[in-house]
Point group: C2
Chain length 79, copies 2
């Protein structure tokens, strides 16, 4: 089965990449963009077929490798 | 309104970051991960309130800045 992990910086954490995108969009003439945050998305193909076990495994992967939980939050979706 | 753009490398394009994650997960003892692809997610706060116009604007942003459409595909969701 497939899992999709979305990792975003937590809301209080400065996101210079997002700010750079916001400025670049303004320079290109796209008005009305009031905020931009950039994060990562990681799509995993898993051999596991049980949804509950797959989610537990993916959450463990997030805690140990995929996200820095001090500054990032993550969301797991099974697809 | 908010829009979420997901940018992924197209399926034929080599994804070294995804491969690195797959190897690292294997080294940490997570078996059964058969494939990993990494992409970007960009969350935009828009002043626009009409969903159709917002989607048109965000697609234009993707074509001009957010995605390299030669090697990347993008998906727009309004949230």
């Amino acid at each position: 089965m497939k899992a999709r992990v979305t990792v975003m910086l937590k809301s209080g954490v400065l996101d210079p990449q997002g700010e750079a995108i916001r400025h670049a969009l303004g320079s290109l003439g796209f008005a009305g963009v009031t905020g931009v945050r950039q994060g990562k998305v990681i799509e995993l193909d898993l051999a596991e077929t049980d949804p509950a076990q797959a989610e537990t495994a993916v959450r463990a992967m997030c805690e140990r490798l995929l996200a820095n939980t001090v500054i990032e939050s993550y969301r797991v979706e099974l697809v």
